[in-house]
Assembly symmetry: C2
Homo-oligomer: 431 residues x 2
Amino acid sequence: MPLSDPDFSRLTASDAARLLQRRALTAQALLGACIEVIQDREPQVLAWREYDAPRAMEQARQLDQGPIRGPLHGLPLGVKDLFDTRDFPSGYGSPVYRQHRPSNDAAAVALCREAGAIVLGKTVTTEFATFTPGPTRNPHHPAHTPGGSSSGSAAAVAAHMVPLALGTQTAASVIRPAAYCGIVGFKPSFGLIPRAGVKSLSESLDTVGGFGRCVDDVALLTSVMACAPQWRQLPEDRKPRIGVCRTPQWDKASPAARQAFESTVQRLIAVGVQVVDVTLADSVSALTDVHDEVMCAEAFKALADERVNHPDLLSERLRAMLERGSRITFEQSLQHRAQLASARHRMGRDFAGYDLLMTPSACGEADSGLEGTGDPLFSRIWSLLGLPSLNLPVGVGPQGLPLGVQLIGPVMSDTATLAFTRWVEQALARG
Amino acid sequence: MPLSDPDFSRLTASDAARLLQRRALTAQALLGACIEVIQDREPQVLAWREYDAPRAMEQARQLDQGPIRGPLHGLPLGVKDLFDTRDFPSGYGSPVYRQHRPSNDAAAVALCREAGAIVLGKTVTTEFATFTPGPTRNPHHPAHTPGGSSSGSAAAVAAHMVPLALGTQTAASVIRPAAYCGIVGFKPSFGLIPRAGVKSLSESLDTVGGFGRCVDDVALLTSVMACAPQWRQLPEDRKPRIGVCRTPQWDKASPAARQAFESTVQRLIAVGVQVVDVTLADSVSALTDVHDEVMCAEAFKALADERVNHPDLLSERLRAMLERGSRITFEQSLQHRAQLASARHRMGRDFAGYDLLMTPSACGEADSGLEGTGDPLFSRIWSLLGLPSLNLPVGVGPQGLPLGVQLIGPVMSDTATLAFTRWVEQALARG
């Protein structure tokens, strides 16, 4: 059943990988199909800071002629412009780094290339992965944001420009754009993927993650960066117990988001999933505000050079964020750590009652307008706790834009979390 | 009591800061004295990768003419060549980065400059802060190592070339060179000082620290980078209870190191310190080996670009370390985390019985020969636990080289740890 060329761009990364590994699909054919989509859709979506089709095609040619390099052999990859790359500018979404051309790859990028990935280009990030947007538009509707901060990576995968892309999350920068663009986004447990060569924003939060079209795709991509080959051999039969958590922010979710969430709960019950309603402990709920303060305080330190030497090149929104960070005292920072330790302890106990926690991924469909990237509200707690979390698309809202649910697992249980979320994905696809 | 010019180089940073703040000493006079020492001693010590006396003097002139900039106003600073700097090459101790000239300062460097420090130059680091040495010699004896990886920073402070210098510690890279060079080195709790712009080696271990001539000096320097002003206003009356820990590696300590340690215990008892003998729990002792494996496994990931693209430019020793890291499985890494959590829990309880834990800082006097930098053995556990630790010089061995003790506090209790160690320092100076 040969696919016609344009169809290659619609393959999941895991399906494409299987074909590439047995030479039933060439890297050149797959890349060619992706480049065609980019040429067609990029003028509207603006997902890329820069891409280089001829250089990527030369790499594809070499891969087709040489041995199988690794699990990502021949897969085109979009890389958020927060990662250093040896062959593209690395601008971090800021005019401060307009001329920046590193000589080396970020460690995560080098690991992907070592495994055979083809870096097609750099995707648009918000300013230093904060809240000031780049030009990217939602591929489902050009008047809406794709979310941020991994705006270009999520949009590029959703628009079928690449099967896989790299992102990072400090607040909600993988989960929210994945939800807004209707794809799978996975943020592994904090600390599993190296951040060397990724512009630092908030050291206790920044986490490398990935985008794809299905759970297997993000498992494949992140497994390479985490050096976790077992994420590529997930067991098939992991039906999860699910803690359904409407969160204290439930009233911030749109009617459509709530409806999609409740309907997902009903569909899961219908396929026999054991579901339990979960109310977060006060110590855990409190982390939404703690996260915000930790992020501002750490960004104030991490961006010291830019703040001191290039204040005029920072957006007003970022300057305000750093100003807030400057006012958080050392005692408050220690208090934040104590609150986090307490909440972490509590969540560790609570996870005995279920395998996955399910919350909305975002407040609703992607906001209209391109002056913001939406609210990270529903992911702040889980980013601070460092838990593996994944966006699963579950439908479309009244504006025709995607909606998602966020599935969260216990810390360092990424293998099980991926297996359980894949079970959910497949049950929902069948049901 | 005016000091003659050359004496300025012997001032502690905290004494110099007091004079600079009230304009009783000019930045130019202090810097001039430091430069004179460098010109005299650098040909033998080789502490610097590069320094720029005229540019530093111009900065000193501007500081003398302008307002007081902050707590480090006018203090010359040496910066380990693992930190990015906007005005010096940043080579990370590796030929891979021989041509590397970043356009921006590491966050920690920017914070020091914002507080008025004068970056006089970059000090020699071992290769990527691992175990392959640079050219630096011990200022007390040129045939001996200064320790590593912060070799140049420790040697420069010990040789009175600068009052303060920045270092980093992944295994023992602040404590060991401080001990070998006979100065104070302080590694704060993990996570307090931003690492943005510091070349990453092992993400769960790498910690920025500082060197000075006394506890007040390192408190002053690190307070600026941790945004912890209270470290500059330590209470005077903190007599600690001390847990005396000879560690399971006691037989690796030289007779001279053991004698210096025991004599320190006796002097502390003589000044009325409550001392308790501590045997480490098995879960804690096991961390010496766990640390080694965590470091190798994380280095294998962090140095992916260099390993893949420049294998011929890495030392054989580093390649062997990365090869060991490549063989550590994902399951083993999860097991390491579980072991760490268990040991962390145990140490948290044990610290109820004492305020500081005291161990040898290193196996003995600095090794002779420049082909190695000594053994990090006595600091591995505390680096992995992320505990604040400090080297205090306590004497001189039979080869005329310094010996030190390592004082360790509970995690995130850096303010108390600094206050207690200062009490110990002053009691030993009196006794």
